[in-house]
Symmetry: none
Subunit: 314 residues, 2 copies
DNA sequence: TGAACTCATCGAAATTTGTCATGTGCGTGT
DNA sequence: ACACGCACATGACAAATTTCGATGAGTTCA
């Protein structure tokens, strides 16, 4: 509220009355309340700023404005102390309720139905999961949204995202590669596995059962294999099923995720470095501002049900 | 939200994407919701603007911005039709809830206790009502606020308001004198009354039982009496009780409100014009920006409990 | 028809918000 | 003790948004 009309009556008043005028115009910005919630959600001002698409200082300014309006501190600024003051905790509660009503009003009153197109990339293993059910429901709820899915390996999907051929993709990345804007759906550990009857010699190369060129973590394996001249690729196959068979046939050692370890396979670490852990994330193209996609990502995230325990982003 | 960071990615996009970007940044301003409520409360944009201390065009712009955010119309703009659309009615409901939470958050979190002074004027009949209870509670809740009340007749209080000797007063005014910023507490009708045994002659003056100089509507009666030479003042008294006794003693005709009509009194309209109706309002001095007074007025308004049915102003 | 009233729109002034650059404080490692 | 990295605060200013005053358009009433 920037009204000048009211201030015409203030001429000649003393400084106390000017302060009182400030207090009279107090209000809490919706977006500042949203920033406060994001600080709680993401664990700090800087990460909240990234998630909101603002600069760190804009978020800092917003909190400052809330604090001025309320004339109390909201963030605890002592090292090692709680992030929020008691007042900050109280306001977070109000913020949640206000934002809930606000967003509900936006959703229920807006007469623009979700429409548009979504070009979505999936890997084969995610394509065969509950995601199909999620997409089906989404289509039923939003008939005006055209969802086009392409199933590729993760490296291909990532290239397509970069080229703008996809709006979003569900891809595997190493955990250290998770970007702030990625939505982490779940995480997986990789293991070196072999059949119990396969003897690893103490010298010379280890026979490696490799996924093909398009497996994004195959390159990691080859890189460490070349560095130490440890691995020798003896088998290439693009499917996990093929690799599983080769392991069971004692043909060599493979790098597999928990999901693929079965039967008599044995996890081994002899002469091999600990593998990196993986994350399945929804990654969006840079040019992907699309309410329909926002809604779909929210559905996916909610349905996969991370239960708020895992960090959304690094 | 005016972020530039995100918009850097939009270069080269077509117009559809720009529209979608607007939708993505939708939000409902707190003050716009407050304006919508004020339009309902005051019966139009222009009156709402006065009450909010803004120009008419600022309020018009606010509604326009809400309509753009929601992509629907909120005000019915057909003559004779309802002021609000169905969507407008829905949003009013949300607005009430959001504003309630917002204002509650402001009140409960703000660490600046209400302080200051209130110079309040009352008429004798209002001083002897539940208002005393209201003031008592206000003092207990806000011990730092000094409330000083002066009991006078309405005309005197109005003069004191003009002179800045009072911050606010509860006064009687004719209904057509209600100002936009007055808070209407309740309304009263006046009636010409006489005892059934008093015969009004068909010619010559009517004996008039008059309140004294300080009764603000006495002047109205004398004015119309002089115009038509109808009334002859035969009795003057400053208290309603005295006037009631004189009526019952068949001394003449008096102008009384519903509250004072009792026993065998008879309402009459022979040869007399219909009296104006009255309103009891909280009227504030022009220089009365005072959070403590705001709070007190809200308490008074709420407690008198107009139940939202009556218009607050003209 | 003219007057009064209400609301919408335009151009520009006023105000608010966000960015960038920099400062400050804290924790960690050498 | 010092250097570095990280997180947040602050100042100056640009960009965006809101408000104002003037005016236009529409409606109602006498």
């Amino acid at each position: 509220m920037t009204g000048v009309v009211r201030d015409k009556f203030l001429s000649g008043e003393n400084d106390t009355d000017i302060v009182m005028n400030e207090l009279n115009s107090r209000r809490l910005e919706i977006d500042a309340l949203r920033a406060l919630s994001a600080i709680r959600q993401h664990g700090g001002i800087t990460r909240a700023a990234v998630a909101l698409g603002l600069s760190q200082s804009a978020v800092s300014h917003k909190i400052k404005r809330l604090e001025i309006s309320l004339d109390c501190e909201l963030l605890g600024r002592k090292s090692g102390g709680p992030m929020f003051t008691a007042a900050g905790e109280d306001l977070l509660d109000y913020a949640g309720r206000i934002l809930g009503l606000h967003d509900e009003a936006l959703l229920s009153l807006s007469k623009t139905p979700l429409a548009g197109r979504i070009a979505l990339g999936l890997t084969e293993d995610t394509a065969c999961t509950d995601l199909a059910r999620i997409f089906g429901r989404f289509r039923r709820l939003h008939p005006n949204v055209a969802v086009r899915t392409k199933v590729r390996m993760s490296l291909v999907l990532r290239a397509m995202l970069e080229r703008g051929e996809l709006d979003a993709a569900i891809v595997q990345v190493f955990s250290h590669e998770v970007r702030p804007k990625d939505v982490v759906l779940y995480r997986e550990d990789l293991h070196w596995v072999k059949h119990p009857e396969l003897m690893i010699r103490h010298d010379g190369p280890i026979p490696f059962l490799s996924f093909d060129d398009e497996c994004f973590y195959r390159q990691w394996a080859l890189d460490i294999g070349q560095e130490d001249a440890v691995l020798e690729t003896v088998f290439e196959c693009s499917s996990a099923a093929g690799i599983v068979s080769a392991v069971n046939a004692t043909m060599g050692v493979a790098l597999l995720s928990d999901r693929h370890i079965r039967g008599e396979m044995q996890i081994t670490t002899d002469r091999l470095p600990p593998p990196p852990s993986l994350a399945y994330v929804v990654r969006r193209a840079r040019k992907s501002r699309n309410p329909a996609l926002d809604c779909l990502v929210r559905e996916i995230e909610s349905d996969i049900g991370r239960q708020g325990g895992l960090a959304l982003a690094g």
